[in-house]
Amino acid sequence: MGKIFAAAVTIIAVASAAVFAAHIWWLPPDISALGLRIDSQISETMIFTGTLFVAAQLALATFVWQSTGRAGAIRVFPGGPMPMVALATVIVGVEVLSLIFIGTKVWANIFLAPVEANALHIDVQAGQFAFYFRYPGPDGKFGVPHPELIDEGNSNFFGLDPKNDTAARDDIVSASLVVPVDQPVLLTMHSKDVGHSLFIPQLRLQQDFVPGLVIPVQFTATGIKKTEIVCTQLCGLGHYNMRAYFEVLSKADYAKWLQDQAGQ
């Protein structure tokens, strides 16, 4: 049974590692400016953890194979526990330090970068169970939202007050997020009711909506594509179906789309 166990561990470890290495199930192609750095960080971590995974499982299998039903005196591990401590500290420690170093830089690029001057500002509101996206319109200004004015029946999703608020009159509200290619986009994210999250796998972008907070996040889409935004923070019974289309258009198509929206 010990040898069967050793063989099973070996097969499981090698087979699992092979599936990862062959990218049979893998991330969707990236279409963002920063996604490649995240992808390469995932690959590096994959190589490191994959090596440790196979090594540790094979060591377990080997030792179990050798030790099962062994006769004769026991053998102490060469050098006692200290080589183990040193090994773990050095290997894991070095990798930990480098992961921290690389990871922090990538993270800083996503969340600590200053807002680009030419960023397209889009206001996002999440609610049970839909996303709404608001563009400032020709005046470049957003109207002030009033929660008590929210009236979904009359499509006033943000609670705008166009009668009294001039900035609100030309705001464009869309159910899909449409952005021009190669254009830095700034999303200001807020929630109407409970926690939500915005996940666009192709952008390697995921960010929670926290009620009461307005959370800024930036991205630049580099490929023309139509895909989906899904909610990844449990928000209630319609959570599984809370999604919106995400469309990256050429600059010309985007201008046309914006015009169409304003005309409605």
Partner: protein, 599 residues
């Protein structure tokens, strides 16, 4: 003994039980003060809870694989929630919430920590009972009430809450309007968890006082077996963690029933109604919850470390490699566990700087975990390994702990977590490292201590089949979840209407078949428990030729554990592979042997 002379002695020799064993059924088996009975009660509760939790997961898995087909039998058992066996999205989330809550609190906390700890710890330190037997009894019954309160949510019109085991505010705080089960169901949840905290605080208090003050003569801290050390460290983690979760539950309950606004910000519009709350902070709930929630992972897994490190040397017939390093690493993990809670909140909108700050200790905590793994490997190396069900589950523990621990490297880096955060990768990770590893510790402990508990050996044939099928089933079920996660498949979805997730159905079906297989394998365990309890061959005092104190007393131990004798300890727990009068091991209670060095 009159009071004057008693006060003069600072440490009287542990007095024998000044009372006769209880005779009535209620006192003996129900409201018992005996730690051995309480330990079994906790394990029984854990068994009921784990069966419940697993059944819930079966329903969820079936629905994920066949979203359009009604689940067999469910329409009969839950006609209000799943008419005709059709799982609605909200019922799926309610099942998921209850699965998570039951498993984390009532299985992974009660069984390895409260259950085995209660039964074994006083025996291993050489005490007659816990320091405060009444608190100990209260601890179990309070926990039991908490379980009843939680399960009661299934029997109310709106059903259980759907906000997940993390109960993020404001979904969990604003009441009925937020969704089915968010009315009374969520209130029951909060009350249940609050009560549970009190039960575990009483338990932790007992464990700490017993370990520090009730040790037998000669039982220095350095001679405590690895499992007792692990329970001791776990109780210190639990003491702090549950002391924080309890206030969080109190505040959440007040938000729900008393109109306060601790976690509910201004201007929320739920179900077309502006909420009458203002100024609360949802992140405050997340901070309080995860300050408990991350250490909770170690409450589940550290007892497993201890169980493995106690069983492995006995089965390897070889001293544990670096037993002191092991304790030091467990202490380091316990300390670090309080500095890492923010890694659950990388995407929560807290300051991006703090994400980096939380990432560093999270990555560093892998170092002591890696050292512990290597110590186990070094212990197995060159040993005379005896393969039995207990040792197989220990070896399996090492394997799944490595697997689950390594996937943590991805999630501990904020920039990678940006992609993987809400996906099945996380589900795979925590099921391996917290769920399965802890369960393997529980199984190993059961096969190891069952003879001591009931005086009968468990069936090795059934045990080995149980292990083999469980081990394969675990990898088949949880490994593919990492692949789903890489694809961007989102957790907590009852079905996948999104276009890009359609392709995942095949893998989901595979996981479901594996999960059904894995669950079915557990029936072997149930049969084995039942059969061995009734028909198992009689167990000798020390069937494993182990060294610690529980093996020096009959199986099962008498009411006062050591039959009125006071064990005297002369050795550490680690004397295997030596030549002593008994053979290749020396028990802790054996008289001192000249020339035998203690490691």
């Amino acid at each position: 003994m009159d009071i004057v002379s008693a006060t003069a002695i600072e440490h009287p020799p542990a007095a024998p039980h000044q009372h006769a064993p209880p005779t009535g059924f209620l006192r003996k088996y129900v409201f018992s003060l005996d730690h051995k009975v309480i330990g079994k009660q906790y394990l029984g509760l854990g068994l009921v809870a784990v069966c419940t939790g697993m059944l819930l997961s079966w329903i969820m898995r079936y629905h994920l694989a066949f979203p359009d087909k009604p689940v067999p039998l469910i329409g009969f058992f839950a006609p209000t929630f799943a008419a005709g066996g059709v799982i609605t999205p909200e019922f799926y989330l309610q099942l998921m919430t209850m699965h998570g809550t039951i498993m984390v609190f009532f299985v992974l906390t009660t069984a390895p920590f409260a259950g085995f700890g209660n039964f074994v710890l006083p025996l291993q330190v050489g005490a007659e009972d816990m320091a405060f037997p009444r608190f100990n009894m209260m601890s179990f019954w309070v926990t039991f009430v908490a379980f009843l309160v939680l399960v009661a949510a299934f029997f109310i019109p709106d059903g259980p809450p759907l906000s997940g085991w993390t109960a993020y505010a404001p979904l969990s705080a604003v009441g009925k309007g937020a969704g089915p089960g968010e009315g009374l169901g969520q209130s029951l949840w909060v009350v249940s968890i609050g009560i549970f905290c009190i039960g575990q605080l009483l338990g932790s208090l007992n464990f700490i006082a017993t370990t520090l003050d009730l040790r037998a003569k000669g039982m220095t801290l350095g001679r405590l077996p690895a499992s007792t050390w692990a329970w001791f460290i776990t109780s210190m983690i639990g003491l702090i963690a549950f002391s924080v979760l309890l206030p969080a539950c109190v505040l959440l309950l007040l938000d729900r029933v008393a109109g306060t606004s601790f976690f509910i910000p201004s201007g929320l519009v739920v179900s077309d109604a502006v909420q009458p709350h203002s100024g609360g902070s949802p992140l405050l709930w997340q901070h309080l919850f995860w300050f408990f929630g991350h250490p909770e992972v170690y409450i589940a897994i550290v007892p497993g470390f201890g169980i493995v490190s106690t069983i492995l040397p006995a089965m390897c017939r070889k001293p544990h490699l670096g037993p002191r390093v092991l304790i030091a690493c467990e202490l380091a993990i316990a300390g670090l566990s309080y500095m890492v809670w923010g890694h659950h909140m990388f995407l929560s909108g807290m300051s991006p700087m703090s994400a980096t700050l939380f990432s560093v200790p999270t990555l560093i905590i892998t170092i002591p975990a890696a050292i512990i793994t290597l110590l186990w490997l070094g212990t197995i190396y060159g040993s005379k390994l005896r393969i039995n069900t207990a040792s197989l589950f220990c070896l399996g523990f090492v394997s799944v702990f490595v697997t689950g621990g390594l996937s943590g490297f991805f999630l501990s880096q904020p920039s990678i977590d940006t992609y993987l955060h809400g996906t099945y990768f996380v589900v795979g990770h925590f099921h391996f490292v917290m769920g399965v590893a802890a369960m393997f510790g529980i199984f190993a402990g059961t096969y190891f201590w069952f003879p001591k508990m009931f005086g009968r050996m468990m069936s090795e044939t059934l045990g080995k089949w149980h292990f083999a099928l469980t081990f394969l089933g675990v990898y088949a079920t949880f490994m593919p979840m990492h692949w789903l996660g890489l694809e961007g498949n989102v957790r907590r979805y009852s079905s996948f209407p999104s276009d890009y997730m359609h392709g995942s159905l095949a893998l989901h079906r595979f996981i479901t078949f594996a999960a059904l297989f894995l669950g079915a394998a557990q029936l072997i365990f149930l049969v084995n428990l039942l059969w061995s309890r009734l028909r198992g061959p009689a167990a000798p005092d020390n069937p494993w030729e182990a060294t610690s104190l529980e093996w020096s007393t009959p199986s099962p131990p008498p009411f006062d554990n050591f039959g009125g004798k006071h064990p005297v300890v002369s050795h550490g727990p680690n004397l295997y592979g030596v030549s002593g009068p008994r053979g290749d091991y020396v028990m802790q209670t054996d008289p001192p042997i000249a020339g035998l060095e203690e490691s």
